[in-house]
Symmetry: C2
Subunit: 229 residues, 2 copies
């Protein structure tokens, strides 16, 4: 019985996601700051954000540790043109996955287990922009500060606030790194549609894995005990 | 000047590792519990270990989130025979990588930056056994408890104690997930040497990525704030 109810909740979530798709506004065009402001809560570059406790120097050491170099930056930037026309389909796959896994859909739902459709929609718009930002790989101070903010929005210190959402107030840490796998594995078929040679697609995919891993590390900062990060 | 000294420290670390290789004892044979006891600090299955705060039920949900299923368990177990004869060469690659990255070698070194050769050697023996345990993929309560202990041995609550080591007392959280990439990427050429078809090698590699990701999540538990995990 519980399994059936979970399935129903998941399908409800998927239906909400389908509505969200059709209602979505076009994502920001490159270099067009005006358009980006139409994405609710998208605060990359905002002066209001607190500074990341992780420095650019710390981040360079992390880049070296995951073997992310110039070739990866080029591959990420090359992936933008491949992925931008497919953003909605990618989000359908990712939202479909979240909707199919009750332990994940729970974080978009209130205490009674009802998914918050408005919240799902607002997050979806920023998630689409995140695909483009990941491909752009700017890795500047504003980017670092925004990663800190994204981490805070997963954690009880900041979840729901940007969207005035009616959902549980904390995403458990363990699911942040866990999602690296399904997000990057499901991206590969989309990277393959750009007409590049298999080794170029593989280079883009590996660069994406490294970048998502780095971002999840940054997002984890608010979860880690003082001095332990 | 600082870069030159870091390089010298790294090369010193590599020399220590080369010694460590020749001195290493044979790793445990499958099913031979007596032999396993010769690995210093290898406490898988020990009654003295505290129970993991992560339950087997929590772990099942994590497995589902990283898409780890029966096919992955088979692929991991198939990888054992491929990797076992290559354990020393794999460790040479991983230790060579750590030795080449000053920000990583620092965790095997004392406050003055001198690597602790005895500590490097003791960790190396357990690291070899870890390759076999990862391939075995038992995922029982004893395994879960030992993952918790491994996490504690990275964190200030337990680092250095098992080996009476003279090294800094805490590995910063951020390098645990970061190491997933170099560890799994460098494993693939070793998986390719088993004579399996490319798609079987790829299945083994993907299963390894999922397993290492799950383990790093478990090892992170001592770093995460109360209630946040």
């Amino acid at each position: 019985m519980k399994a059936v109810m979970s399935l129903a909740a998941a399908l409800g979530g998927l239906a909400l996601m389908a509505n969200a798709t059709s209602a979505q506004e076009p994502v920001k065009k490159k270099g067009d700051q005006e358009v980006s402001r139409t994405i609710h809560g998208y605060d990359y570059g905002s002066d209001r954000l607190p500074r990341s406790p992780v420095t650019l120097e710390d981040f360079e050491k992390l880049k070296a540790t995951v073997l992310l170099g110039e070739g990866d930056l080029n591959a990420l930037r090359k992936s933008r043109a491949v992925l931008e026309p497919q953003v909605d389909e990618i989000l359908d796959v990712w939202y479909g996955f979240v909707g199919s896994q009750p332990q994940l859909l729970a974080y978009f739902s209130n205490a009674a287990g009802k998914p918050d459709g408005d919240y799902l929609q607002k997050v979806r718009e920023r998630f689409g922009q995140w695909i483009l930002d990941t491909a752009d790989a700017r890795y500047d101070q504003a980017w670092l500060d925004y990663q800190y903010e994204i981490g805070r929005r997963h954690h009880r210190v900041g979840k729901n606030r940007a969207d005035d959402a009616d959902a549980v107030n904390h995403i458990h840490y363990r699911y942040l790194p866990a999602l690296i796998y399904p997000v990057t594995a499901t991206l590969k078929p989309f990277l393959e549609k750009g007409g590049f040679a298999p080794e170029e697609v593989e280079a883009m995919h590996q660069a994406w894995i490294k970048s998502v891993l780095l971002q999840v590390i940054l997002w984890s900062q608010p979860y880690v005990r003082e001095g332990d990060f």
